[in-house]
């Protein structure tokens, strides 16, 4: 029945990642760029979890006696994505702090107004 | 005995699904934002509680966790929709033309803005 669950979710992850990258590159407003970055992160996380998926697998948690009850999905990508989400929040918050300071300086959110390092 | 519990639980699951379906139909039929959020909150709170009750009857081992879920749903669902509706009111989301009484306007003068001291 659920033959293609992994493929479908992986395709969703690809579309989200590519949309996020497009937003990050094409927008002028800095907050919109950071929104694109966070969507890109979400898409990449979905792709990574989908790679570890096994058809008909259950969550890698044993029952109370410590016996494996069924087929498991791969625990390694899940463990990596777990930390990646928390770090994504830290990086997003750091970028927003930079945006707040930049706005206090020049009163503009447009990325094209910041040409101090362009030469 | 176990079969009877399972049947009753199934009935509650179906009832919960019907309530949620009614909420979805209400979202479509209601004229403005405030009516919609009222329909969605009331029906979805009741529907979620019925679904949780049905699951608890089918799987008695999960009952303690479902009680915690009960409490969380009962607390958070009305509060969050209250806040969403209030935010919509203060950002001037338009009401339907049939609205006659606006009690919030009467009870709120300028008291909803307050000044706080930020220095310690």
């Amino acid at each position: 029945m659920d033959q293609y669950l992994g493929q479908v979710v992986m395709a969703i992850g690809f579309i989200l990642a590519i949309l996020g990258l497009y937003g990050l590159l094409s927008q002028k407003n800095m907050i919109k760029m950071i929104l694109g970055f966070s969507i890109f992160t979400t898409g990449v996380n979905i792709i990574m979890v989908a790679i570890g998926y096994v058809k008909g697998g259950t969550a890698p948690i044993l029952d109370a006696e410590g016996n494996a009850v069924a087929k498991f999905v791969d625990p390694v990508p899940q463990a990596l994505v777990l930390t990646s989400i928390v770090i994504g929040l830290g990086v997003t918050a750091m970028m927003l702090a930079y945006v707040m300071k930049l706005y206090q300086d020049k009163k503009s959110l447009n990325i094209n107004d910041y040409k101090d390092l362009k030469w | 005995m176990g079969d009877l519990l399972e049947i009753i639980g199934g009935v509650f699951l179906v009832l919960g699904s019907i309530t949620m379906l009614l909420a979805a139909i209400g979202m479509y039929r209601m004229p403005d934002f405030y009516n919609r959020i009222q329909v969605a909150t009331k029906a979805s709170t009741l529907g979620l509680l019925q679904v949780a009750l049905g699951v608890g009857l089918i799987m008695p081992g999960w009952a303690p966790k479902l009680v915690v879920l009960f409490v969380f749903i009962l607390f958070t669902n009305p509060i969050s929709s209250h806040l969403v509706a209030r935010a919509a009111y203060f950002t001037k989301v338009p009401m339907s033309k049939d609205t006659k009484i606006d009690k919030l306007k009467e009870s709120i003068s300028k008291a909803h803005l307050k000044t706080v001291k930020t220095k310690a």
Binding site: V76, L82 | F75
Partner: protein, 234 residues
Amino acid sequence: MDKKFMVALLVAAMAVILFPLFQSFEGGTQLSELGQYYTQNGVSDTGATNLVASVVVTYRGLDTLGEVTILFLAASIISFFLSVSKDDRIENRTVMSVTEILSTASQTLVPIIVLVGAYILVNGHLTPGGGFQGGAIIASGTLLMFLANPNHKLNHTIIHVIESTSGIAFVAIGVIGVLMMDGGFLSNKLFDLGTPGEVISAGAMPLINIFLGLKVGTELSNVLGIFVESQNEK
């Protein structure tokens, strides 16, 4: 070159890079070799029934240490950038008054949310959960507190003490594993492994999870607190 063309080119290049991954993906009928080892030997090696937690805390504990360090660096940079000196603070700020429903509800709900976070954190080696999840839930409790009272001040001394203590304790457990046992850094065999499925089992894993959760929770709460306090700047 036109900028829009360059953007389209880059996005298309990304799609071309990613597409073979999608094409060769078969939905996985069996695990990779590493995943197979972890699922077969996870319980006998670490004594934890939640295999994800055993990978995060024990097998890949060094990576977790690095990731906690990155989070700490990000939080330090944020507090360096957004800290408000006493002279720059505005005296009075006009905010929307909080309704009684929200303030009462937050007084009831914040302890429950923190309790749920603590439960998830302590049971990390048995059920889904662990340090990162518990910490994130505790931080969302802090967020509710800030929404109910925008002028709430976190006690920075206590937060810094908890954060540094748990960070040092995390590293200390790892070093003790190197010195005392022959298990290597962040060894799990510091204590008896116990029987899998009980709360006090899996060696040092519950202890590491608690320190990890305290560190992540206080760090995220601290970031939120700095963002709230920066609203008071001129």
